[in-house]
Subunit: 228 residues, 2 copies
């Protein structure tokens, strides 16, 4: 296994970084500690492998862990996770803005690039991209100090009839969802008005660019909106 020093002088493997990132993402949904099974699901691995890794992370004080009680990131673990997320999102901007990738093509490559260890590279890339605040999916990009804005945004599915808003992000960044959005010309920055909400299945009739479009709950529950 290959290791490099990060800016705090500690070393994390590819696998450790991926676990830290996964725990960070899951902490939003699991406030009392991320469960082993949830982490196994997120990491596409087995619960026993997760337990192994959690112990290693715990030994390095990257997480707080008590048997059977799930994990939480320590402050060191959180910094490390944010650093990886910062790199991931910066690279996504690079791929889209500079290399002409579509927003549905960047995830897999950014998953690799996020592990490159060079503080200078990260910061120079940030500067080259003119310090972007959000990635191509509308997610906030942490700055060099790890700070980032927690967006004031709602899900389209939570809007009422006749409310309007600007599309500012996607919750699901899968290729399939993003390609659906492309096909229906839904992109960040578009203004959307809710015309009708169907109680039965939560589907919606929306207006966008002067056209009407019917969308299911699966769509509206994955689109972030800034209400206007």
């Amino acid at each position: 296994m290959y290791f490099w020093a990060n800016k705090t002088g500690f070393m994390f493997s590819l696998s450790e970084e991926n676990y830290l990132k996964a725990i960070f993402h899951l902490e939003n949904s699991y406030k009392g500690g991320v469960s082993t099974n949830a982490l196994a699901e997120e990491m596409q691995t087995k619960a026993s492998s997760v337990t192994d890794m959690i112990k290693r992370l715990s030994d390095k004080d990257l997480v707080n862990y008590k048997k059977y009680q799930g994990v939480k990131l320590s402050s060191a673990g959180k910094s490390a996770a944010i650093e990886v997320i910062r790199k991931h999102r910066l690279w996504e901007v690079f791929l889209v803005e500079k290399l002409g990738f579509n927003w549905d093509e960047v995830h897999e490559v950014a998953e690799q690039l996020e592990h490159i260890k060079s503080e200078k590279l990260t910061n120079e890339l940030d500067k080259f991209l003119e310090f972007p605040k959000r990635d191509p999916h509308g997610d906030p990009i942490p700055d060099a100090q790890g700070n980032f804005s927690v967006a004031n945004r709602a899900l389209l599915s939570d809007l009422e009839e006749q409310q309007t808003g600007i599309c500012v992000g996607v919750k699901d960044s899968s290729t399939e969802f993003l390609q659906y959005l492309d096909k229906n010309q839904i992109s960040l920055g578009k203004e959307i008005r809710v015309l009708e909400k169907e109680e039965f299945d939560q589907s919606m009739l929306i207006e966008m660019d002067g056209n009407e479009l019917m969308i299911s709950n699966l769509i509206s529950a994955n689109l972030f909106i800034k209400t206007t």
Copy 2:
């Protein structure tokens, strides 16, 4: 260990790619097959580890190997090595041209970036950089088909008195050597004239930018020159 498919559908680990690259570089000096010890020296590892890896590479038909007789790359191994070298040199250009790195700062980062698996990324990066022919150290960059020019270049140490030439590359890309060159304002493109050669220690008095400079054989034997 993490694997990804490359463009030929095969999968190579980080370590395998590094060995292939090392063998490729050493094949210039070891025509009859690269020795285990030479490879161990290049890879900064033990001979026994090299033997292990050579067997793995041989099982995958990336090298031709017979016990005690050194290794040679197979054509598949050579393609894989060239692909890694292509990526390494493209990233070096990116770091210098776009992110403002100095030529002595790029190697370590490019060593990481060269392993990113995405044919689209490599080719789009190539396009973004406007298909550079050489990296910041003057080494040729293979194109998408793996072709690259074998330069018509000599070492400065081989020039005779009064011969002139353009500096087109460095043989040693170490930070120390590159910083020496920076300090003495020697860079690619500079015209150099050999004024005097000292037989005893092979040191040279050269003229560059109208100034005279005394350099040792260690310097002149690591500068590539295109004679004029």
